[in-house]
């Protein structure tokens, strides 16, 4: 719990600092919206104004009429939610096994999972392309889900393993005595206790999937199956870039991500403070 700063000058300084930080962090978002509500003429010739021109909100559909932005966002959603779901299901089981079971090669398994984080994605694009081609996964969204899961799952495993490590064995043993089988111990006892960590892992996995560009750009050639990240990049032309349209699409692209974060952030915050409260 943050200690209360009682003296007035301290409080003023704190709020000033936080205010500056907020402006610094939020200004690019504001400018994105401002650009989206400007015309290309303003952007390239007369210069855009500082204040939002909300009256131009009605022009947005016309700007995006030529591109299937909602379909791209839906594709991004499929990749992001698919990655999050698959990664969390596998990570929960892997983390539980790494935390609770003794088996030969446990250390090696943990190291190999960790080692996947050392390899840059770009290094694996070519071998993955060959692999995906032979499995018929190119140009498929579920192929993207698999590729992203492979990269994001180890992070989720480590987050969840450290959370499970903190749960005393006795609680599971108690459930065992009460007649609860292993699977039940995991789903009814362990999982509810690590919800904050699951939420944190979900955020990381979701944004990895949502922001994914490299694999999507390489593996998906059909424009209708592009996720929004690749779709946005396609706005950039050889001779011109319709900045206003790009920013409009980018703004729409950020909305689902913000909504997702707002939904899970309560769980994460409760997890951050859970250890600070004496039980």
């Amino acid at each position: 719990m943050i200690r209360k700063i009682r003296k007035l000058p301290g409080r003023v300084a704190l709020f000033l600092g936080l205010g500056l930080f907020t402006v610094f962090a939020a200004f690019p978002v504001y400018w994105m919206i401002n650009t989206a509500l400007s015309t290309d003429t303003e952007l390239y010739k007369t210069g855009q104004g500082f204040w939002l021109k909300l009256s131009r909100l009605g022009d947005i559909p016309a700007k995006l009429a030529e591109v299937p932005i909602f379909s791209w966002i839906a594709n991004s959603g499929i990749v992001a939610f698919g990655t999050t779901f698959l990664s969390l299901v596998l990570a929960v089981m892997a983390a539980y096994a790494l935390s609770r079971f003794k088996f030969h090669g446990k250390g090696l398994a943990a190291f190999v999972l960790f080692a996947t984080q050392m390899l840059p994605e770009a290094l694996l694009v070519v071998p993955l392309f060959a692999l995906f081609a032979s499995f018929g996964l190119l140009n498929e969204l579920h192929g993207l889900v698999l590729a992203n899961t492979a990269f994001t799952m180890p992070v989720a495993i480590f987050i969840l393993k450290s959370a499970i490590d903190k749960i005393p064995y006795e609680i599971e043993e108690s459930a065992r005595i009460d007649g609860c089988p292993r699977s039940g111990q995991l789903t009814m006892i362990i999982l509810p206790l690590i919800v904050p960590s699951v939420a944190a892992a979900a955020v990381i996995n979701f944004f990895d999937g949502w922001n994914e560009f490299l694999f999507a750009n390489t593996f998906i050639s059909d424009a209708a199956k592009w996720p929004a990240s690749v779709g946005l990049a396609s706005f950039v032309g050889q001779y011109a870039t319709p900045l206003s349209s790009v920013m409009t699409a980018a703004f729409l692209f950020t909305i689902p991500a913000i909504v997702f974060f707002l939904i899970v952030q309560r769980q994460i915050v409760s997890g951050l403070t859970a250890g600070a409260v004496k039980g």
Binding site: E173, R176, I177, D178, G279
Partner: protein
């Protein structure tokens, strides 16, 4: 209500042997206490009874039926953990109901999401709801029933743990140092509550503790363990008055039994230095070195100076209704007479009232001839009277633990 039989049970973790050989036969409805110092293997033994730890070797039987490979849930036991092990995300009601719900859970109910629905459905069944309420009322948890464990005090959490054990009506209750996290006052209260519970449910209890007061006040039978070995099995009275060896003698009682090194000669026990006669030696013991065990309450202040045993007072503790007097048999370094002295040579007497004695002075003590214990000076094993009337060679007088 099974009879529990331990047949040459052994437990090792790799090369580390925790239980060397444990054999005992415990009848129905006993309040059995496994007593011993930390690390003696008593909790491991309890976990083996529960099925939480595998048995390396030997056989464990409930009513003659081998249970070595049975899952905990198939043993019909309840376990109260030292840390209580309550489910933090469930309310008191849900915690207590959990074993009943699990008893009614079918395999496919464990499918995620469905399991939480089925838990709620089963919890609302009248037989479950009423039983939970009944047990909660019995343990005076009614007003906390919808609270989470973290909002409860230590004693209340303890009661929830007991309620969770009680709700299934198991045949054996296993309790692993359940009072060690409570303060002294609450511990006394919970001790009485657990004893009352034992009398009420009339089932077998196996209780692990390192606290001899808990063992003496609650047990109908005690097994004293040390370094993974059974030192003695017996009722609290047997353990207290007829310890099987010097370890048990020193472990039970506060202050512990006095162990006085003596030499047996002509039917008399002479102090090691030969300076004074301590007690009459029983006729059945052979002459030679021995260890005399005397409980502190068997030593009193001599009425007439010059009779009994002369001691040099090294400590006087007034406990209100009684006094504990520490004394040595030999006046060692005069400067040390005013100190407590080495624990090896200080003996204790417990006398009623407030004894007006001064540290450093001499005092005559009387040691009654009844209820004295005699141990082999080398092995520490107790010498039991030989019924044939033959002399007992102390060096080879290995006592078998009294049969349960």
């Amino acid at each position: 209500m099974p009879r529990i039989q331990f047949d040459k049970i052994r437990k090792s973790f790799g090369s580390n042997t925790v239980i060397r050989e444990f054999s005992a036969d415990i009848p129905d409805n006993e309040f059995l206490v496994l007593l011993g110092p930390s690390g003696c293997g008593k909790s491991t033994m309890l976990r083996m009874i529960a099925g939480l730890t595998d048995i390396s070797d030997g056989e464990l039987r409930f009513d003659g039926e081998l249970v070595n490979d049975r899952e905990p849930r198939d043993r019909n036991v309840a376990f109260v953990f030292q840390s209580y092990a309550l489910y933090p995300h469930m309310t008191v009601r849900e915690n207590i109901a959990f074993p009943l719900i699990m008893d009614r859970f079918k395999g496919w109910y464990h499918i995620p999401i469905l399991n939480s629905i089925m838990r709620r459905v089963i919890a609302k069944r009248p037989e479950v709801r009423d039983r939970v309420t009944e047990v909660a009322e019995m343990l005076e948890l009614g007003s906390y029933i919808d609270r989470r464990p973290k909002t409860l005090s230590g004693g209340q959490r303890q009661r929830v743990a007991v309620a969770r054990a009680l709700v299934r009506d198991p045949s054996i209750y296993l309790l692993d140092e359940p009072l060690s996290n409570l303060d002294a006052k609450l511990r006394t209260q919970m001790r009485a509550e657990i004893t009352a519970l034992y009398q009420r449910v009339n089932k077998s209890f196996v209780y692990v503790t390192h606290d001899q007061v808990e063992a003496m006040t609650m047990a109908t039978r005690i097994i004293v363990l040390s370094d993974g070995e059974v030192r003695q099995i017996g009722t609290p009275e047997e353990i207290y008055h007829r310890p099987a060896d010097t370890f048990v003698a020193r472990f039970i009682g506060a202050p512990a039994m006095n162990l006085i090194p003596v030499r047996l000669r002509d039917g008399r026990a002479i102090s090691d230095s030969g300076a004074q006669e301590i007690a009459q030696a029983p006729a059945h013991l052979s002459p030679g070195p021995a260890m005399l065990g005397v409980r502190p309450e068997k030593i009193s202040l001599a009425e007439h100076p010059g009779s009994g045993v002369l001691g040099y007072i090294s400590a006087v503790e007034h406990l209100g209704g009684e006094s504990v007097i520490g004394f040595t048999l030999e006046p060692s370094d005069p400067n040390r007479l005013v100190q407590t002295g080495s624990t090896e040579t200080v003996h204790y007497a417990r006398v009623p009232g407030t004894a007006q004695l001064t540290v450093g002075t001499k005092q005559w003590f009387s040691i009654g001839d009844a209820n004295l214990s005699w141990f082999d000076a080398d092995t520490g094993l107790a010498a039991t009277p030989d019924r044939s009337g033959q002399e007992v060679e102390l060096r080879s007088a290995r006592t078998e633990a009294p049969a349960p």
